[in-house]
């Protein structure tokens, strides 16, 4: 049981080729804008017809180009949460939720509306129109409307992108609670790395219309297989590499030699390290210690990003090798120390990456 997708669709600028499977846990589709992730969802829901391929949901063939099967959208039983919620502006909250329940009698309808209103904490808003609701409330109505028809799969297209930062984290938590009750296949599309990590168990990384990587989210972030996946999962520091010996590599862009713990697979072309994995060297460190100078810094509320030049003084603010993220408190201790600083790039934290 689950969702099987293997589709091809020619689009202006690129060809979408998405293939993956999803079971009971929430699957995240992570990709930059224009990577084809929304289009993939639309193909699954039946809003857009793929050129080729197969889509199977719980053993039901929804689309099969070889057999000429293309189940219309309204018979797929797939709930879709649109980025802008797409509520019916001419209907009240109640009417929105009930819209997919046309064939039921009044009593059944009311029961389902009540259950969904309660689950989504929309009590008291039943008679309001969408324009009288806040963004978060609108989203809950949209989710209630999608879940009212008891869909076999739920597709979420960047559901939090229209919410402000404060609401977002609040809604994410609520979302998780709701999704806990939902027993169908859930697909979650986002370009936001933190959202993907927080909400999904497994991830499919899409780039340029192709599946770049697929697997458990932990692996996706700590052991990304490719340069692209590493970029999409938030790694900031990359260098082309040359292998010197079994575990020694030369980072060509950084101009340093490094020990790497990871056993290389074939076709390694780059290495990367997360900005928050860089740290000051301690007394017990013996390997991968380098002198560095800050080129410039950029500040955010709780952390500092320091752009550092390794091995020599920077000539200009643009002359840096690595981005280093540290907590504000640590930065206050660090900033007055004499230059250069000793940093350590732990052999266990360096990631070897394939180019595509």
């Amino acid at each position: 049981m689950g969702l099987f997708v293997d589709i091809k669709k020619r689009l202006p600028g690129f060809t979408l080729e998405a293939g993956f499977e999803s079971g009971a846990e929430v699957l995240g589709l992570l990709g930059a804008s224009g990577s084809g992730k929304s289009m993939t969802l639309r193909c699954i829901a039946g809003i857009v017809k793929p050129d080729k391929g197969r889509i199977v949901l719980n053993g039901r063939v929804l689309f099969d180009s070889d057999k000429g099967v293309n189940v219309p959208c309204r018979q797929r039983k797939i709930g879709f949460l649109f980025q802008n919620y797409a509520l019916f502006p001419n209907m009240t909250v109640e009417e929105n939720i009930a819209f997919g329940l046309q064939n039921l009698d009044r009593e059944q309808k009311n029961r389902i509306i009540r259950a969904n209103v309660q689950m989504m904490k929309l009590e008291g808003l039943e008679k309001r129109y969408p324009f009288q609701l806040s963004g978060g409330q609108q989203q809950r109505v949209a989710l209630a409307r999608a879940l009212a028809i008891e869909p076999e799969a739920l597709l979420l297209d960047e559901p939090f992108s229209a919410l402000d930062e404060h609401l977002r984290s609040h809604m994410q938590k609520q979302f998780m609670d709701t999704l806990d009750h939902y027993r169908g296949v859930t697909l979650f599309v986002t370009h936001n790395i933190e959202e993907a990590y927080g909400l999904c168990g497994k991830l499919v990384v899409l780039s340029g219309g192709k599946v770049g990587a697929e697997g458990l989210k932990e692996n996706m972030f700590l052991k990304p297989p490719s340069l692209e996946t590493a970029q999409l999962t938030g790694c900031k520091n990359f260098s082309a590499v040359r292998r010197l010996s079994a575990n020694e590599w030369e980072a060509l862009d950084w101009g340093i030699r490094l020990k790497v713990e990871e056993e290389p697979e074939e076709r390694v072309s780059h290495m990367g390290i997360h900005a928050h994995h860089i740290r000051l060297a301690r007394r017990e460190d013996t390997e991968n210690i380098f002198k560095c100078w800050p080129a410039f810094t950029s500040e955010s509320p709780f952390k500092m990003t320091v752009y550092i030049s390794v091995g020599r003084k920077p000539l200009s603010p643009e002359d840096y090798h690595l981005q280093w993220e540290i907590a504000k408190e640590r930065w206050h201790e660090l900033k007055d120390r004499p230059l250069p600083w000793d940093i350590c790039l732990e052999p266990g934290k360096l990631m070897l990456l394939k180019d595509k």
Binding site: I47, R74, Q75, G79, N84, A86, P89, F99, G100, R145
Partner: protein
């Protein structure tokens, strides 16, 4: 002045019937063209808009050929033992054809403004296309559809050239107000002509003004409704 009021009733009856006919045909055409993605879109749109830009006599000429004794529709009607040329239905046909593009153009514009996601959302909920059209699409495009209907009504009320060609000027039967004005003026009955002129002038002005205020009112409400 000896006033015959039959043109008023004929005009109102014709304009209302033509508006009703145009409403459904115009809306259907608008919906089909709005959803059509092919290469012929420009051509189809051109053909459907033609009655608005062609001289009414040209439209009348085509209708005369089409519904005349030897025309395709005329032959069919003849076989059924009837004909429309120089009868009251001819005034409705002329007014409908000339008013059609206004209904079509205006409601098509409104249909194309609708957020496609809203219609797609309705589809994922398992609702039939027919129901989606009447419960979602039409309400969302309503300001435009209503405006198109009003414009079509005003145009149907003022139709002259095509009507004269296929319905003629038969007092009490096909003589609408615009025809009455023309023949009164031509016959030197300027006072009678003026009375009808004032009437048409007033009705058209009132209708258009009301529509403007209504559009303004809608514009205040709808954007809030459609906030994304």
């Amino acid at each position: 002045m000896d006033m015959d009021f039959s043109p008023l009733w004929i005009s109102v009856k014709t304009a209302l019937t033509a508006t009703l006919v145009t409403f459904f045909f115009g809306l259907a055409a608008a919906w089909l063209v709005a959803g059509y993605r092919g290469k012929l879109k420009g051509l189809i749109d051109g053909v459907l808009t033609l009655p608005m830009v062609l001289p009414p006599t040209v439209v009348g000429f085509f209708l005369l050929v089409f519904f005349g004794k030897n025309g395709p529709a005329g032959k069919l009607l003849h076989a059924l033992g009837t004909q429309v040329i120089f009868s009251w239905p001819a005034t409705v046909i002329a007014a409908s054809v000339v008013a059609f593009p206004l209904m079509y153009k205006t409601s098509r514009g409104a249909l194309e403004q609708i957020d496609e996601n809203i219609v797609n959302a309705a589809r994922t909920l398992g609702v039939s296309e027919w129901k989606i059209f009447w419960k979602v699409t039409v309400p969302l495009a309503w300001p435009g559809i209503a405006a198109g209907t009003v414009l079509a009504f005003a145009r149907a009320l003022g139709e002259f050239g095509a009507t004269l060609m296929i319905a003629g000027n038969i007092p009490g039967k096909t003589q609408t107000i615009p025809l009455a004005i023309f023949f009164a003026a031509e016959g030197g009955e300027m006072e009678k002509a003026l009375a009808w002129v004032v009437f048409i002038f007033a009705v058209s002005l009132v209708v258009m003004t009301l529509m403007n205020y209504w559009t303004e009112y809608q514009a205040k409400i709808i954007p809030r409704n459609r906030r994304r």
